[in-house]
Protein backbone atom coordinates (compact mmCIF):
# COMPACT_ATOMS: atom_id res chain seq x y z
CA UNK A 1 0.00 0.00 0.00
CA UNK A 2 2.80 2.36 0.82
CA UNK A 3 4.38 2.35 -2.65
CA UNK A 4 2.86 5.19 -4.66
CA UNK A 5 1.01 6.50 -1.63
CA UNK A 6 2.96 9.38 -0.20
CA UNK A 7 2.08 12.16 2.12
CA UNK A 8 2.46 14.63 -0.72
CA UNK A 9 0.04 12.83 -2.98
CA UNK A 10 -2.60 12.67 -0.29
CA UNK A 11 -2.05 16.28 0.67
CA UNK A 12 -2.29 17.26 -2.98
CA UNK A 13 -5.53 15.39 -3.43
CA UNK A 14 -6.99 16.92 -0.28
CA UNK A 15 -6.43 20.43 -1.62
CA UNK A 16 -9.73 20.27 -3.43
CA UNK A 17 -11.59 20.05 -0.14
CA UNK A 18 -9.84 22.87 1.63
CA UNK A 19 -6.56 23.93 3.16
CA UNK A 20 -4.32 20.91 3.36
CA UNK A 21 -0.99 20.85 5.08
CA UNK A 22 1.53 18.32 6.21
CA UNK A 23 1.55 18.86 9.94
CA UNK A 24 4.44 16.65 11.03
CA UNK A 25 5.76 13.31 10.00
CA UNK A 26 2.94 11.02 8.98
CA UNK A 27 0.27 13.59 9.73
CA UNK A 28 -1.88 15.53 7.33
CA UNK A 29 -4.24 18.21 8.45
CA UNK A 30 -7.12 19.25 6.25
CA UNK A 31 -9.29 22.21 7.11
CA UNK A 32 -12.63 22.09 5.39
CA UNK A 33 -16.24 23.13 5.78
CA UNK A 34 -19.05 21.14 7.41
CA UNK A 35 -20.85 20.28 4.19
CA UNK A 36 -17.70 18.81 2.65
CA UNK A 37 -16.74 16.53 5.53
CA UNK A 38 -18.79 13.66 4.27
CA UNK A 39 -17.21 13.84 0.83
CA UNK A 40 -13.73 14.23 2.23
CA UNK A 41 -14.02 11.17 4.38
CA UNK A 42 -15.53 9.18 1.54
CA UNK A 43 -12.69 10.23 -0.70
CA UNK A 44 -9.90 9.36 1.71
CA UNK A 45 -11.62 6.10 2.41
CA UNK A 46 -12.04 5.13 -1.20
CA UNK A 47 -8.80 6.46 -2.63
CA UNK A 48 -6.28 5.92 0.10
CA UNK A 49 -7.85 3.29 2.32
CA UNK A 50 -8.33 5.36 5.45
CA UNK A 51 -10.74 2.84 6.91
CA UNK A 52 -10.20 3.42 10.60
CA UNK A 53 -11.57 6.30 12.59
CA UNK A 54 -9.32 6.98 15.55
CA UNK A 55 -11.53 9.54 17.15
CA UNK A 56 -13.53 12.70 16.69
CA UNK A 57 -12.22 15.49 18.86
CA UNK A 58 -14.23 18.54 19.66
CA UNK A 59 -12.54 21.72 20.79
CA UNK A 60 -14.12 24.90 22.00
CA UNK A 61 -11.78 27.67 20.98
CA UNK A 62 -14.12 30.33 22.42
CA UNK A 63 -14.97 31.76 18.97
CA UNK A 64 -16.20 28.59 17.33
CA UNK A 65 -16.57 24.93 18.05
CA UNK A 66 -14.10 22.84 16.17
CA UNK A 67 -14.48 19.22 15.18
CA UNK A 68 -11.47 17.20 14.17
CA UNK A 69 -11.82 13.77 12.59
CA UNK A 70 -8.73 11.62 12.86
CA UNK A 71 -8.51 8.76 10.40
CA UNK A 72 -5.85 6.22 9.72
CA UNK A 73 -5.41 3.14 7.64
CA UNK A 74 -3.06 0.29 6.87
CA UNK A 75 -0.40 2.72 5.61
CA UNK A 76 -0.04 4.28 9.10
CA UNK A 77 -0.66 7.83 7.93
CA UNK A 78 -3.03 9.94 10.00
CA UNK A 79 -5.24 12.45 8.36
CA UNK A 80 -7.01 15.01 10.55
CA UNK A 81 -10.00 16.69 9.00
CA UNK A 82 -10.95 19.84 10.88
CA UNK A 83 -14.13 21.83 10.58
CA UNK A 84 -15.40 24.83 12.47
CA UNK A 85 -18.97 25.26 13.61
CA UNK A 86 -20.86 28.18 15.00
CA UNK A 87 -21.35 28.28 18.72
CA UNK A 88 -25.10 28.72 18.78
CA UNK A 89 -27.14 25.86 17.40
CA UNK A 90 -24.19 23.92 16.01
CA UNK A 91 -25.20 21.13 13.66
CA UNK A 92 -23.20 18.70 11.67
CA UNK A 93 -24.10 15.87 9.30
CA UNK A 94 -23.31 12.52 10.84
CA UNK A 95 -20.74 10.12 9.44
CA UNK A 96 -22.34 7.21 11.24
CA UNK A 97 -23.41 5.73 7.90
CA UNK A 98 -19.88 5.38 6.58
CA UNK A 99 -18.01 4.73 9.80
CA UNK A 100 -20.13 2.93 12.44
CA UNK A 101 -17.78 3.61 15.37
CA UNK A 102 -18.43 7.31 14.87
CA UNK A 103 -21.80 6.85 16.55
CA UNK A 104 -20.23 6.65 19.97
CA UNK A 105 -17.97 9.63 19.54
CA UNK A 106 -20.73 11.77 18.08
CA UNK A 107 -23.07 11.14 20.95
CA UNK A 108 -20.38 11.86 23.44
CA UNK A 109 -19.67 15.18 21.75
CA UNK A 110 -23.36 15.93 21.64
CA UNK A 111 -23.54 15.49 25.37
CA UNK A 112 -20.53 17.55 26.27
CA UNK A 113 -20.55 20.25 23.60
CA UNK A 114 -24.11 20.34 22.37
CA UNK A 115 -23.32 19.71 18.73
CA UNK A 116 -26.26 18.05 17.01
CA UNK A 117 -25.32 15.41 14.51
CA UNK A 118 -28.10 15.31 11.99
CA UNK A 119 -28.88 11.85 10.76
CA UNK A 120 -27.52 9.94 13.73
CA UNK A 121 -30.34 7.56 14.68
CA UNK A 122 -29.61 7.50 18.37
CA UNK A 123 -28.88 10.86 19.93
CA UNK A 124 -29.95 10.19 23.49
CA UNK A 125 -28.35 11.50 26.65
CA UNK A 126 -25.55 9.15 27.49
CA UNK A 127 -22.73 10.57 29.48
CA UNK A 128 -24.19 12.89 32.01
CA UNK A 129 -26.54 12.16 34.82
CA UNK A 130 -30.20 11.66 33.98
CA UNK A 131 -31.28 14.92 35.61
CA UNK A 132 -28.56 17.05 34.09
CA UNK A 133 -30.06 20.26 32.71
CA UNK A 134 -30.76 19.93 29.01
CA UNK A 135 -29.01 23.02 27.73
CA UNK A 136 -25.80 22.92 29.71
CA UNK A 137 -22.71 21.56 28.07
CA UNK A 138 -19.91 21.22 30.59
CA UNK A 139 -16.94 21.15 28.26
CA UNK A 140 -17.73 24.48 26.64
CA UNK A 141 -15.37 27.15 27.82
CA UNK A 142 -18.03 29.56 28.96
CA UNK A 143 -19.85 26.97 31.02
CA UNK A 144 -19.64 27.75 34.70
CA UNK A 145 -21.34 25.45 37.11
CA UNK A 146 -23.88 27.03 39.36
CA UNK A 147 -22.59 26.35 42.86
CA UNK A 148 -26.10 26.23 44.28
CA UNK A 149 -27.40 23.53 42.01
CA UNK A 150 -27.40 19.88 42.80
CA UNK A 151 -24.49 19.05 40.56
CA UNK A 152 -21.94 20.82 42.67
CA UNK A 153 -19.41 22.66 40.62
CA UNK A 154 -15.78 23.31 40.11
CA UNK A 155 -14.55 24.99 43.19
CA UNK A 156 -12.13 27.85 42.84
CA UNK A 157 -8.95 26.56 41.32
CA UNK A 158 -5.91 28.46 42.41
CA UNK A 159 -4.00 29.91 39.53
Amino acid sequence: MTGPLTLESIAEKMKEFGVSEQARKNRIRVTTTPDKVHDTIRTVQAMFGFDRLITISAVDNTRTLELIYHLTGPHRIIVSIAVELERDQPAMPTIFDILPPAGIYERQIHDLFGIVFTGNPNMKRIMLNEDWPADEYPLRKDWKPDPDTFYGGIKGERS
Binding site: Y105, N122, L128, E157
Partner: protein, 391 residues
Protein backbone atom coordinates in the same frame (compact mmCIF):
# COMPACT_ATOMS: atom_id res chain seq x y z
CA UNK B 1 -41.19 -18.34 26.67
CA UNK B 2 -41.81 -14.62 26.98
CA UNK B 3 -38.95 -12.21 26.75
CA UNK B 4 -37.52 -11.01 30.01
CA UNK B 5 -35.49 -7.95 30.73
CA UNK B 6 -32.40 -8.55 32.77
CA UNK B 7 -30.71 -5.46 34.04
CA UNK B 8 -27.13 -6.19 34.96
CA UNK B 9 -25.21 -3.61 36.85
CA UNK B 10 -24.06 -1.14 37.91
CA UNK B 11 -23.48 -3.22 41.00
CA UNK B 12 -22.87 -6.78 39.98
CA UNK B 13 -20.23 -9.26 41.05
CA UNK B 14 -18.97 -9.85 37.55
CA UNK B 15 -18.41 -6.20 36.98
CA UNK B 16 -15.77 -4.61 39.04
CA UNK B 17 -16.75 -1.35 37.46
CA UNK B 18 -20.10 0.29 37.09
CA UNK B 19 -21.82 -0.37 33.84
CA UNK B 20 -25.36 -1.24 33.09
CA UNK B 21 -26.68 -3.69 30.56
CA UNK B 22 -30.33 -3.91 29.94
CA UNK B 23 -30.65 -7.22 28.26
CA UNK B 24 -33.78 -8.42 26.61
CA UNK B 25 -33.47 -12.14 26.69
CA UNK B 26 -35.59 -14.90 25.28
CA UNK B 27 -34.97 -17.68 27.74
CA UNK B 28 -31.20 -17.82 27.82
CA UNK B 29 -30.67 -16.15 24.46
CA UNK B 30 -30.03 -12.43 24.16
CA UNK B 31 -32.34 -10.73 21.74
CA UNK B 32 -31.01 -7.23 22.07
CA UNK B 33 -29.39 -5.07 24.62
CA UNK B 34 -28.70 -1.58 25.73
CA UNK B 35 -25.47 -0.56 27.34
CA UNK B 36 -25.07 2.36 29.66
CA UNK B 37 -21.49 3.12 30.45
CA UNK B 38 -21.55 6.55 31.90
CA UNK B 39 -21.56 5.76 35.61
CA UNK B 40 -17.94 6.73 35.77
CA UNK B 41 -18.14 10.14 34.21
CA UNK B 42 -16.14 12.53 36.33
CA UNK B 43 -15.24 15.36 34.02
CA UNK B 44 -11.54 14.71 33.88
CA UNK B 45 -11.18 16.55 30.59
CA UNK B 46 -12.61 19.73 32.04
CA UNK B 47 -10.36 19.47 35.06
CA UNK B 48 -7.32 18.89 32.87
CA UNK B 49 -7.94 22.22 31.20
CA UNK B 50 -7.63 23.96 34.53
CA UNK B 51 -4.46 22.49 35.94
CA UNK B 52 -0.92 23.17 34.93
CA UNK B 53 1.31 20.52 33.42
CA UNK B 54 2.78 19.51 36.76
CA UNK B 55 -0.54 18.84 38.41
CA UNK B 56 -2.32 17.38 35.44
CA UNK B 57 -0.19 14.26 35.24
CA UNK B 58 -1.36 12.74 38.56
CA UNK B 59 -4.89 13.58 37.51
CA UNK B 60 -4.61 11.83 34.14
CA UNK B 61 -2.91 8.90 35.76
CA UNK B 62 -5.98 8.40 37.87
CA UNK B 63 -8.25 8.30 34.87
CA UNK B 64 -7.76 4.59 35.14
CA UNK B 65 -6.14 2.40 37.72
CA UNK B 66 -4.99 -0.34 35.41
CA UNK B 67 -3.49 1.64 32.56
CA UNK B 68 -2.37 4.59 34.62
CA UNK B 69 1.06 4.78 33.04
CA UNK B 70 -0.51 4.77 29.59
CA UNK B 71 -2.49 7.92 30.14
CA UNK B 72 0.31 9.93 31.66
CA UNK B 73 2.82 8.77 29.05
CA UNK B 74 0.49 9.55 26.18
CA UNK B 75 -0.07 13.00 27.58
CA UNK B 76 3.55 13.64 28.46
CA UNK B 77 4.87 12.58 25.08
CA UNK B 78 2.28 14.72 23.35
CA UNK B 79 3.28 17.78 25.34
CA UNK B 80 6.96 17.03 24.81
CA UNK B 81 6.38 16.87 21.08
CA UNK B 82 4.61 20.22 21.15
CA UNK B 83 7.40 21.71 23.25
CA UNK B 84 9.88 20.03 20.89
CA UNK B 85 12.03 18.57 23.59
CA UNK B 86 13.65 15.19 23.30
CA UNK B 87 13.72 13.12 26.45
CA UNK B 88 16.98 11.33 27.31
CA UNK B 89 17.33 7.69 26.21
CA UNK B 90 17.46 6.46 29.78
CA UNK B 91 14.09 8.05 30.47
CA UNK B 92 12.70 6.44 27.32
CA UNK B 93 13.88 3.04 28.46
CA UNK B 94 12.52 3.48 31.97
CA UNK B 95 9.16 4.51 30.59
CA UNK B 96 9.19 1.47 28.33
CA UNK B 97 10.00 -0.84 31.23
CA UNK B 98 7.14 0.50 33.30
CA UNK B 99 4.80 0.42 30.32
CA UNK B 100 5.55 -3.21 29.56
CA UNK B 101 5.35 -4.22 33.21
CA UNK B 102 1.99 -2.55 33.25
CA UNK B 103 0.92 -4.49 30.18
CA UNK B 104 2.02 -7.72 31.81
CA UNK B 105 0.17 -7.01 35.02
CA UNK B 106 -2.89 -5.94 33.11
CA UNK B 107 -2.96 -9.06 30.95
CA UNK B 108 -2.35 -11.37 33.90
CA UNK B 109 -5.11 -9.57 35.74
CA UNK B 110 -7.38 -10.01 32.77
CA UNK B 111 -6.62 -13.69 32.46
CA UNK B 112 -7.50 -14.14 36.11
CA UNK B 113 -10.70 -12.18 35.84
CA UNK B 114 -11.74 -14.08 32.73
CA UNK B 115 -11.14 -17.33 34.58
CA UNK B 116 -13.15 -16.01 37.51
CA UNK B 117 -16.01 -15.12 35.20
CA UNK B 118 -16.30 -18.72 34.08
CA UNK B 119 -16.06 -19.81 37.70
CA UNK B 120 -12.53 -21.14 37.37
CA UNK B 121 -11.24 -19.67 40.59
CA UNK B 122 -8.05 -21.68 40.75
CA UNK B 123 -6.57 -20.08 37.67
CA UNK B 124 -7.80 -16.75 39.01
CA UNK B 125 -5.80 -17.27 42.18
CA UNK B 126 -2.73 -18.49 40.37
CA UNK B 127 -2.50 -15.68 37.85
CA UNK B 128 -2.96 -13.11 40.56
CA UNK B 129 -0.38 -14.85 42.67
CA UNK B 130 2.14 -14.60 39.85
CA UNK B 131 1.07 -11.08 39.12
CA UNK B 132 2.36 -10.10 42.53
CA UNK B 133 5.90 -10.53 41.18
CA UNK B 134 5.19 -7.85 38.58
CA UNK B 135 3.59 -5.65 41.20
CA UNK B 136 6.58 -6.02 43.50
CA UNK B 137 8.90 -5.00 40.72
CA UNK B 138 6.83 -1.96 39.89
CA UNK B 139 6.51 -1.00 43.52
CA UNK B 140 10.24 -1.25 44.05
CA UNK B 141 10.88 0.93 41.03
CA UNK B 142 8.22 3.57 41.43
CA UNK B 143 6.91 3.43 44.96
CA UNK B 144 3.33 2.47 44.36
CA UNK B 145 1.63 -0.69 43.24
CA UNK B 146 -0.87 0.91 40.93
CA UNK B 147 -0.32 4.60 40.35
CA UNK B 148 3.36 4.74 39.53
CA UNK B 149 3.63 8.47 38.93
CA UNK B 150 6.82 7.91 37.00
CA UNK B 151 6.33 10.51 34.33
CA UNK B 152 7.23 14.13 34.26
CA UNK B 153 7.23 16.43 31.32
CA UNK B 154 10.75 15.98 30.06
CA UNK B 155 11.61 12.64 31.57
CA UNK B 156 10.87 10.42 34.51
CA UNK B 157 10.62 11.20 38.18
CA UNK B 158 13.01 8.69 39.64
CA UNK B 159 15.93 6.67 38.44
CA UNK B 160 16.44 2.92 38.56
CA UNK B 161 19.28 1.79 40.75
CA UNK B 162 21.37 -1.24 39.71
CA UNK B 163 19.90 -3.13 42.65
CA UNK B 164 16.38 -2.55 41.35
CA UNK B 165 17.39 -3.65 37.86
CA UNK B 166 18.97 -6.80 39.20
CA UNK B 167 15.97 -7.59 41.38
CA UNK B 168 13.70 -7.18 38.38
CA UNK B 169 15.93 -9.36 36.20
CA UNK B 170 15.99 -12.00 38.89
CA UNK B 171 12.21 -12.21 38.88
CA UNK B 172 11.92 -12.65 35.14
CA UNK B 173 12.89 -16.35 34.67
CA UNK B 174 10.27 -17.54 37.12
CA UNK B 175 7.68 -15.34 35.48
CA UNK B 176 8.60 -16.61 32.03
CA UNK B 177 8.16 -20.16 33.19
CA UNK B 178 4.77 -19.39 34.67
CA UNK B 179 3.61 -17.58 31.56
CA UNK B 180 4.61 -20.56 29.43
CA UNK B 181 2.43 -22.65 31.71
CA UNK B 182 -0.48 -20.30 31.15
CA UNK B 183 -0.01 -20.55 27.41
CA UNK B 184 -0.39 -24.31 27.76
CA UNK B 185 -3.35 -23.94 30.05
CA UNK B 186 -5.17 -21.54 27.74
CA UNK B 187 -4.61 -23.88 24.82
CA UNK B 188 -5.46 -27.18 26.47
CA UNK B 189 -7.59 -26.63 29.56
CA UNK B 190 -10.97 -28.18 28.82
CA UNK B 191 -13.34 -25.89 30.69
CA UNK B 192 -11.70 -22.83 29.23
CA UNK B 193 -11.93 -24.24 25.74
CA UNK B 194 -15.57 -25.08 26.33
CA UNK B 195 -16.43 -21.62 27.49
CA UNK B 196 -14.18 -19.54 25.24
CA UNK B 197 -14.30 -21.25 21.85
CA UNK B 198 -16.70 -19.78 19.35
CA UNK B 199 -18.04 -17.24 21.82
CA UNK B 200 -18.35 -13.63 20.68
CA UNK B 201 -16.82 -14.21 17.28
CA UNK B 202 -15.77 -11.23 15.18
CA UNK B 203 -14.56 -11.78 11.65
CA UNK B 204 -11.73 -9.70 10.29
CA UNK B 205 -14.13 -7.57 8.23
CA UNK B 206 -16.41 -6.91 11.20
CA UNK B 207 -13.48 -6.09 13.43
CA UNK B 208 -12.31 -3.54 10.88
CA UNK B 209 -15.78 -2.15 10.34
CA UNK B 210 -16.48 -1.62 14.02
CA UNK B 211 -13.08 -0.05 14.55
CA UNK B 212 -11.74 -2.43 17.17
CA UNK B 213 -8.28 -1.87 18.58
CA UNK B 214 -5.77 -3.75 20.63
CA UNK B 215 -6.00 -7.45 21.41
CA UNK B 216 -9.58 -7.52 20.18
CA UNK B 217 -8.46 -6.47 16.71
CA UNK B 218 -5.33 -8.58 16.79
CA UNK B 219 -7.35 -11.67 17.70
CA UNK B 220 -9.31 -11.15 14.50
CA UNK B 221 -6.18 -11.08 12.43
CA UNK B 222 -5.55 -7.33 12.12
CA UNK B 223 -1.97 -6.45 12.96
CA UNK B 224 -2.81 -3.02 14.29
CA UNK B 225 -0.32 -2.08 16.95
CA UNK B 226 0.76 1.47 17.56
CA UNK B 227 4.04 0.29 18.96
CA UNK B 228 5.02 -0.96 15.50
CA UNK B 229 3.08 1.45 13.31
CA UNK B 230 4.20 4.61 14.98
CA UNK B 231 7.12 3.62 17.21
CA UNK B 232 7.60 5.66 20.32
CA UNK B 233 9.69 5.19 23.47
CA UNK B 234 12.10 2.31 22.98
CA UNK B 235 9.91 0.07 20.89
CA UNK B 236 11.91 0.63 17.74
CA UNK B 237 15.03 -0.75 19.47
CA UNK B 238 13.65 -3.74 21.29
CA UNK B 239 13.17 -7.09 19.55
CA UNK B 240 9.53 -8.10 19.56
CA UNK B 241 6.70 -9.11 17.25
CA UNK B 242 3.10 -8.13 16.85
CA UNK B 243 0.98 -11.07 17.96
CA UNK B 244 -2.08 -11.94 15.94
CA UNK B 245 -4.51 -14.79 15.90
CA UNK B 246 -7.19 -15.75 13.41
CA UNK B 247 -9.83 -17.14 15.73
CA UNK B 248 -11.52 -13.84 16.46
CA UNK B 249 -13.45 -15.19 19.44
CA UNK B 250 -12.83 -14.97 23.16
CA UNK B 251 -10.45 -17.89 22.84
CA UNK B 252 -8.40 -15.97 20.28
CA UNK B 253 -8.33 -12.88 22.46
CA UNK B 254 -7.13 -14.94 25.39
CA UNK B 255 -4.36 -16.46 23.32
CA UNK B 256 -3.27 -13.08 21.99
CA UNK B 257 -3.05 -11.74 25.51
CA UNK B 258 -0.98 -14.59 26.86
CA UNK B 259 1.38 -14.39 23.93
CA UNK B 260 1.65 -10.67 24.43
CA UNK B 261 2.83 -11.27 27.98
CA UNK B 262 5.66 -13.30 26.49
CA UNK B 263 6.51 -10.49 24.10
CA UNK B 264 6.39 -7.99 26.95
CA UNK B 265 8.79 -10.12 28.92
CA UNK B 266 11.19 -10.01 26.00
CA UNK B 267 10.94 -6.23 25.79
CA UNK B 268 11.42 -5.79 29.53
CA UNK B 269 14.41 -8.07 29.52
CA UNK B 270 15.96 -6.21 26.60
CA UNK B 271 15.36 -2.82 28.18
CA UNK B 272 16.69 -3.85 31.57
CA UNK B 273 19.81 -5.36 30.07
CA UNK B 274 20.48 -2.46 27.71
CA UNK B 275 19.52 0.40 29.97
CA UNK B 276 21.52 3.41 28.70
CA UNK B 277 23.41 5.61 31.09
CA UNK B 278 22.77 9.30 31.41
CA UNK B 279 20.29 11.79 32.70
CA UNK B 280 16.71 10.82 33.40
CA UNK B 281 15.12 14.13 32.52
CA UNK B 282 15.68 17.36 30.70
CA UNK B 283 14.31 20.65 31.98
CA UNK B 284 10.98 21.46 30.44
CA UNK B 285 9.70 24.99 29.91
CA UNK B 286 6.78 26.08 32.01
CA UNK B 287 4.62 27.06 29.08
CA UNK B 288 4.00 25.11 25.94
CA UNK B 289 3.82 26.87 22.58
CA UNK B 290 0.63 26.89 20.59
CA UNK B 291 0.03 23.65 18.80
CA UNK B 292 -1.97 20.48 18.57
CA UNK B 293 -1.07 16.84 18.49
CA UNK B 294 -2.73 13.48 18.40
CA UNK B 295 -0.61 11.42 20.73
CA UNK B 296 -1.02 7.69 20.29
CA UNK B 297 0.01 5.02 22.71
CA UNK B 298 -0.59 1.29 22.79
CA UNK B 299 -2.22 0.73 26.15
CA UNK B 300 -2.76 -2.84 27.36
CA UNK B 301 -6.26 -2.71 25.95
CA UNK B 302 -5.41 -1.19 22.62
CA UNK B 303 -4.65 2.10 21.05
CA UNK B 304 -5.05 5.09 23.32
CA UNK B 305 -5.25 8.49 21.69
CA UNK B 306 -4.86 11.82 23.41
CA UNK B 307 -5.73 14.80 21.30
CA UNK B 308 -3.99 17.74 22.91
CA UNK B 309 -4.24 21.38 21.95
CA UNK B 310 -2.17 23.99 23.73
CA UNK B 311 -2.52 27.73 23.64
CA UNK B 312 0.82 29.07 24.81
CA UNK B 313 0.07 28.97 28.54
CA UNK B 314 0.99 26.47 31.20
CA UNK B 315 -2.19 24.48 30.69
CA UNK B 316 -3.84 22.74 27.80
CA UNK B 317 -6.72 24.25 25.93
CA UNK B 318 -8.27 20.87 25.39
CA UNK B 319 -7.32 17.29 25.93
CA UNK B 320 -9.58 14.70 24.36
CA UNK B 321 -9.01 11.19 25.60
CA UNK B 322 -10.10 8.39 23.32
CA UNK B 323 -9.74 5.19 25.28
CA UNK B 324 -9.36 1.76 23.73
CA UNK B 325 -12.43 0.51 25.55
CA UNK B 326 -14.53 3.15 23.86
CA UNK B 327 -13.33 2.07 20.46
CA UNK B 328 -14.22 -1.53 21.24
CA UNK B 329 -17.71 -1.00 22.62
CA UNK B 330 -19.44 -1.03 19.26
CA UNK B 331 -18.09 -4.47 18.57
CA UNK B 332 -19.22 -5.74 21.96
CA UNK B 333 -22.78 -4.76 21.26
CA UNK B 334 -22.58 -6.64 17.99
CA UNK B 335 -20.97 -9.68 19.57
CA UNK B 336 -23.59 -10.04 22.27
CA UNK B 337 -26.65 -10.52 20.09
CA UNK B 338 -27.80 -14.12 19.85
CA UNK B 339 -25.41 -15.25 22.51
CA UNK B 340 -26.21 -16.96 25.77
CA UNK B 341 -27.04 -15.06 28.91
CA UNK B 342 -24.23 -16.93 30.61
CA UNK B 343 -21.73 -15.63 28.11
CA UNK B 344 -22.33 -11.93 28.70
CA UNK B 345 -19.61 -11.50 31.32
CA UNK B 346 -17.09 -13.38 29.25
CA UNK B 347 -17.79 -11.48 26.05
CA UNK B 348 -17.78 -8.14 27.77
CA UNK B 349 -14.63 -9.01 29.64
CA UNK B 350 -12.96 -10.21 26.46
CA UNK B 351 -12.26 -6.68 25.33
CA UNK B 352 -10.93 -6.02 28.82
CA UNK B 353 -13.26 -3.11 29.39
CA UNK B 354 -11.81 -0.32 31.39
CA UNK B 355 -14.79 1.75 32.18
CA UNK B 356 -13.10 4.34 34.25
CA UNK B 357 -10.97 5.10 31.24
CA UNK B 358 -14.11 5.33 29.28
CA UNK B 359 -15.34 7.61 32.02
CA UNK B 360 -17.18 9.68 29.58
CA UNK B 361 -19.29 7.45 27.54
CA UNK B 362 -22.02 5.93 25.87
CA UNK B 363 -24.81 3.72 25.08
CA UNK B 364 -25.02 1.57 22.08
CA UNK B 365 -28.31 0.25 21.07
CA UNK B 366 -28.66 -2.56 18.73
CA UNK B 367 -31.26 -2.50 16.07
CA UNK B 368 -33.56 -5.27 16.98
CA UNK B 369 -34.37 -7.94 14.54
CA UNK B 370 -37.29 -9.27 16.44
CA UNK B 371 -40.31 -7.28 17.51
CA UNK B 372 -41.28 -7.82 21.09
CA UNK B 373 -44.78 -8.57 22.21
CA UNK B 374 -44.87 -5.42 24.26
CA UNK B 375 -42.85 -2.30 23.87
CA UNK B 376 -39.46 -1.96 25.39
CA UNK B 377 -40.41 0.82 27.78
CA UNK B 378 -43.34 -1.18 28.93
CA UNK B 379 -41.06 -4.13 29.58
CA UNK B 380 -38.70 -1.99 31.58
CA UNK B 381 -41.50 -0.47 33.57
CA UNK B 382 -43.13 -3.76 34.29
CA UNK B 383 -39.81 -5.20 35.24
CA UNK B 384 -39.02 -2.31 37.54
CA UNK B 385 -42.32 -2.49 39.29
CA UNK B 386 -41.70 -6.17 39.88
CA UNK B 387 -38.17 -5.68 41.09
CA UNK B 388 -37.92 -2.78 43.42
CA UNK B 389 -34.86 -4.42 44.94
CA UNK B 390 -32.96 -4.43 41.73
CA UNK B 391 -29.91 -2.25 41.80
Amino acid sequence: MPEVVVSIGPHHPALKEPVNFKIIADGEKIVRLELDLSYNHRGVEKAAEQRDFIRVLPLLERVCGICSHSHSTAFAQGIEEIMQIEIPPRARYIRTIIAELERMHSHLLWLGVAAHLIGFNTLFMWTWRDREAVQDTVEEMSGNRVHYNMNEIGGVRCDLTPAQVNAALARLPNLEERVNKYVDMVNYEETMLLRFRGVGRLSKEEALRYGTVGPTARASGIDYDTRKDDPYLAYADAPWNVVTDTNGDVYGRTRVRVWEIQESLRIVRYCLENLPEGAIRVPAPKNAPKGEILSRYEAPRGELAHFIRTNGTDRVERVDIRTPTLANWTSVAMCLVNQNLADIPVIVAAIDPCLSCTSRITLVENQTKKAGVISFDELIRRYRSRNPEEV
